[in-house]
Amino acid sequence: MSEESHAAKKRRMNGRSSQLESQPSFLDDLEMLQETNQATKVDDPSLLWARPTLPKLNPSTDALIFQQIEADEYMSSATQTPVVRFFGITETGNSVICHVTGFLPYFYVPAPVGFKLDNITAFKDALERGIEKGFNTIVKIEWKLKESIYGYHGGEQSPFLKVTLKDPKNIAAAKRAIERGFSFEGFPDFTAQTYESNLAYLLRFMIDCKVTGANWIELPSGTYKSREDRNSNAQINVEISYEKIISHQPEGDWSKIAPLRIMSFDIECAGRKGIFPEAKIDPVIQIATMVTVQGESKPFIRNVMVLNTCSHIVGTHTMSFDKEEKLLEAWSDFVRAVDPDVVIGYNTSNFDFPYLLDRARHLGVLKFPFLGRLNDVRTEAKDTKFSSKAYGNRENKTINMEGRLQLDMLQVMQRDYKLRSYTLNSVCAQFLGEQKEDVHHSIITELQNGNEETRRRLAIYCLKDAYLPQRLMDKLMCLINYIEMARVTGVPFNYLLARGQQIKVVSQLYRKAFEKDFVIPAVNSQGTEDQYEGATVIEPRKGYYDVPIATLDFASLYPSIMMAHNLCYTTLLTGGIIQKYNLVKDVDYVVTPNNDAFVTANRRKGVLPIILEDLLSARKRAKADLKKETDPFKRAVLDGRQLALKISANSVYGFTGATVGKLPCLQISSSVTSYGRVMIEQTKQAVESKYTIENGYEHTAEVIYGDTDSVMVKFGVKDLKKAMELGREAAEHVTKQFIRPINLEFEKVYYPYLLINKKRYAGLYWTNPDKYDKMDTKGIETVRRDNCRLVQNVIDTCLRKILIDKDVIGAQDYTKQIIADLLQNKIDMAQLVITKALSKTDYANKQAHVELAERMKIRDAGSAPALGDRVAYVIIKGGKGTAAYDKSEDPLYVLEKNIPIDTMYYLDNQLSNPLLRIFEPILGERAKSLLSGDHTRTIQVSTPSIGGLMKFAVRTATCLGCKTPLKNGESAVCVNCKGRAPELYQKQQTIVNNLEVRFSRLWTQCQRCQGSLHQEVLCTSKDCPIFYMRKKVQKEIQDSSATLDRFLDW
């Protein structure tokens, strides 16, 4: 089991997206935005850019309070000591830079046996020599009594040397020197493990000063002084010594959020046909920007900068530039003037920013790359690799903008949600219920080269794309959730996207250890591939259950095991200690099912259990507050908080099991899982032995499945209410057998329940006997992207028919009908399209989408997908032995040329397995009959207009009734079918009519979506369910009406 997967459990999208609402065009949105902004309407919109004017601030009489959003460190050139620099916002929206001086980095070394206070000087000299270039870097060495966090040592502290340095950079060198070993007076070959030497200076500072991520800082009057710095344009610039700052814990009133300025933007470049835009060649032609104050519903700045002229856009400040250099310069000036605290966008880290920076460099716009709060720090794009078990490997660019938070919504999406596609379009369809008009990049250049009207049109897309990330962020409350996460775990905001789960636990562990006088060893992780046994799975009794199945869940299983059994670094026992202190089993210590020993809480309470208790009780508080709170904004904060707390609690277990981690302790993690396994078994036993007919119950209960933290019980009763009662009772009964806070909860009943396999099931989810909550599915691959949409829809519909309608026969009929439709070529092409991103061209194996992209390039380089594009394809019929990767084809080309689709491929490779999986538990062997039989006998293949034998074929009109070749003078039917002519005519007419209605509805819908009647629809969004339908109907209607025309007379 992947250790971190737990913590990072993605919030999978349940069911379908929110219903698509009728969408007013984006222009209307712009207009609406304007309406609320009348109060601030000014003649020159650029007057709105600056921050609110600064109220007078007198350091000797006024306290300064601000929310810090980011922090970094630098070396003071005067003192050669590090300074922490906070970037923050006051409650009135003024920007603050606060320099905190005097805090020095340090670490610990255990004092060797026999070490006396007198030895310190010699040790210091020796160490200083060991640190290369470290002359005079050690400030002091102190004698401290501390206890290592790792293992139980009878509660005794031992002497440590606290080494304080001047420069954080020298910590690593000092650590290496000590590990390497050196000699000093009386200690010829000293070497030791260092403690707390691998903690970043900034985090060290925040932990010691009790500063959490994005919390409020108060500088009392008289403790700080103003500072004139040339290098920043913050409104308030102050300096303070670290002992003086007051850090407010984010509770109560201090859980508020400052009026952060959030800037969302999007750029357009004029690419060349078929080539992904290159910054050295292709100009930036438009930049649209929206600025919103956190907590307000609408952006107060909306503007677009356009190369060349552009017609007026309602509610928008449109700025035209004759030169690209001026445009870029103006935008960077704008960013500095607006001074946003948060910068968001979609794929801005990997595209927009690097492109702008490269372009500005290419054009020699010298002022451009200074986008942070510091005037003397150049903004650059750096390549970073990020790898985490939970999130996988990612190569990203990071953009430094000192003092501004960055939230690239694409990265947020990829991290927090598992989706079929991450294009802005499909993400918006999913979360905002909107289709976005998508203009192919080849058209962008045309629009730009048109007139002021076409550029206006382009500007509207650009504005929309700039606004969507903001709306997405608001809808998903990412900013609030991330701020809460930073506060709960104590890490700086920017760590959350840039780093994995571990750092959050590290921060909490160090904070707790600091409080309790523990020191944490700096472990050089080995990265062993030691695997330990994961969670248990009770072998599923597969099948379709038409009776209520009660689900009993252990609430926060792993955290509660750690708390119940006091599992921690600080309680871990080794054999020697047990003898040394004469510890008694089951009184002083327990032995876990994994045969590890931990002392009990009355000997010593573990640090991890305390952290977990804090987290979970804070979560309880947040949930209680959430219930009381009515203000939607505060509710959002609280909800974000409780979620952050839950995730954090779960990640603690993963931290102890991460072998490539900061402080792995497999004894803890293996013990946790072994307890979990035992508990699941015990629960099964307890339930199955109590609920029996012999004990007077109606039926004998049966545990049909169990996994990690839950068991599914079939009590045998038909009545939902009764099943719920029994479930509740059983949960209570079992809970009594375990140590608190382990708690088995009855949560829900599945009825009916389709158990397919381990981690694969579906059921209707009830928490209340009157109405089901939802349809719940696990592990049923409907979101995998290399499946076509048809699979998802068919599986979804079948499950709904089976579970909600309890109509198994109906589901089978439906399946047969779909298969029949598929084989008769009646399925909409959009359902069959598979998409894959063209990320690189040199795959080791030939891949369908790469091969297709190559072929498309030969056909027409202009419309072929470029690197980074998503390639959409369908599988077409190929000759015998044609490799699968050669059977991919562009859906549009397929439509145009009438190329037959390989419907058998879709049946065999796409539909058949998922279908068998859900039907096998119900029908057993008979499930296979769904895939063959009557409904698979009628097959329709379109006649291609190109390729293969078609070169030799002569087109002959055949009778529409019996397919006999027609004789001269017959246009539609042969002599024998003449009697059927009216019928056949009507049949054809119906086909044409259906197509006509489709044609009308589809194209008028696109007109509505684009917000214009008089302009042609240009959108080529392949993610839109309409796109292929629209193309297909054009083609089909043309062909069908031609056929209809053959009935000129009969």
Binding site: S17, L20, H312, K816, Q817, E983
Partner: protein
């Protein structure tokens, strides 16, 4: 009917000069189809053709205002606070309009919601659009008047601080020109045209007896001599749509399911009944049959003539004509324009009002018979014309398949006279309308059997 033969004198069917009004009617005929086209062309043509007319009207109406109202060429060039007038296409933003995106996403699971009788909702808003863009219209005037997508309209007002256009007054194209009918000789008896819609053969409401009575009336086999003479004055019969109802196919669960096309579902009987009926009346009077929503014809506007091969008997008569919907023609220089009702049915959905007659009258004033095509009324994507513009004002304008009989003689600003007739469905009401070709008077005749 036995007394018919006993009458010695023969009553002659009256004749009228028929003109197919080629220049108008031909626009409805789609000879070659090209579906690569989008709807933008149709809107563009409509705006191009009608803008000059609207400008004339606007100048006439607002040209002498003081202070002077300025004409703004492009909707987007309106300046805030300046009294001006613009011309453009109306667009109605209505969230209740059927949305295919919704239907598609629902399609796999939830059945589509039945079509709503009206699209109206409090959140609706009115826009005026031209090639440059669109602007939202506000003001009391906007809430009072009746607006539908696709009408070309002029508005007078000014842009407010929201960027909306505050409308003070609106103007429409007004009725098109009309030729004066040649004065008829008064000593002759008046001639009539019979307007019938919604025979509904094969439908639930179809009553064979009433259809027989109608046939007998039109052919002059009904009643006494006086009535027969009246019948003989009917010079033409126009069937305005929905002559046949194709019954819904009810799936037979007991039969094994067939995958693929099932020919046994085709029912020929209604077409045969209609053919016989047309043959009956065609033997004595000229008859035009227009397709309607339920007829076996194309569904998009303009609907093309029902294939005459479906009428193997009636087609043999020269008096029989299968025509388009909408349909232009003229009788004794009295011009007729009729639709089978879809045009007004669709407008009906846009407005809160129930008064269909007023909606029909409104279309005359808009000089456009089907403005909501293509937005919500399915329509062929014309490239170089808009056949629905009423270049002329008809003398008789009838709308088939409406809920009840209603009529009004409308007078245009230049003295144009139009008899507007809302024809009810015959199957539902047993009612037809007769319009006097000299006086344009109109009355209904009922054959209801209960």
């Amino acid at each position: 009917m036995s007394n018919m033969t006993s009458d010695p004198s023969t009553i002659e069917r009256r004749k009228a000069t028929f003109d197919s009004l080629g220049s108008l009617q031909e626009n409805f005929v789609i000879s070659t189809r090209d579906y690569k086209l989008q709807y933008a062309h149709l809107y563009y043509m409509r705006l191009m053709l009608m803008r000059p007319i609207l400008l004339q009207q606007a100048i006439k109406k607002w040209g002498s205002l003081d202070p002077k109202a300025k004409h703004v060429d492009k909707v987007l060039d309106v300046q805030q606070g300046e009294i001006s007038y613009l011309v453009g296409t109306v667009y109605m933003e209505m969230k209740m309009k059927p949305n295919i995106l919704n239907d598609i996403t629902k399609d796999h699971w939830i059945t589509a919601q039945p079509d709503r009788p009206k699209y109206t909702d409090d959140s609706d808003s009115v826009y005026l659009e031209d090639e440059s863009g669109r602007v939202k219209l506000t003001g009391a005037k906007v809430n009072q008047d009746l607006f539908v997508t696709g009408v070309i309209m002029g508005v007078l007002g000014s842009e407010d601080t929201n960027g909306d256009f505050q409308v003070v007054d609106v103007c429409y194209a007004g009725e098109g020109a009309q030729e004066q009918p040649a004065p008829m000789e008064t000593d002759e008896a008046d001639k009539y045209v019979a307007l019938v819609s919604g025979l509904g053969i094969g439908g639930n409401e179809f009553k064979p007896l009433e259809l027989d009575l109608l046939a007998e009336f039109l052919t002059g086999e009904l009643g006494n001599t006086k009535e027969q003479i009246d019948s003989a004055n009917i010079v033409r019969v126009v069937l305005a749509g929905n002559s046949i109802v194709t019954p819904e196919i009810i799936e037979d669960d007991t039969k094994a399911k067939k995958y693929g096309y099932d020919r046994s579902t085709y029912i020929t009987e209604p077409a045969n009944i209609l053919d016989r009926f047309l043959q009956d009346i065609g033997s004595s009077v000229s008859v035009d049959i227009m397709p309607g929503e339920s007829d076996p014809s194309s569904v998009t506007m303009p609907q093309q003539p029902i294939h005459s091969a479906l009428f193997p008997s009636a087609r043999l008569y020269s008096t029989f004509q299968s025509v388009t919907n909408p349909y232009w023609s003229s009788l004794d220089n009295i011009s007729l324009l009729g639709t089978s009702g879809q045009t007004i049915d669709d407008i009906y959905k846009y407005v809160k009002s129930e008064d269909r007659l007023q909606m029909a009258i409104k279309t005359l004033n808009w000089r456009h018979m089907a403005p909501t095509a293509p937005d919500t009324l399915w329509c062929y994507p014309f490239k170089d014309r808009d056949p629905f513009i009423m270049k002329e004002t008809p003398h008789i304008y009838f709308i088939g398949n409406q809920d009840k009989f209603a009529t009004e003689l409308v007078e245009g600003s230049q003295g144009q006279k139009t008899r507007v007739v809302m024809l009810p469905s015959f199957a539902a009401t047993g009612t037809i309308a007769l319009v006097n070709l000299r006086t344009l008077e109109c009355h209904s005749v009922s054959f209801a059997t209960k």
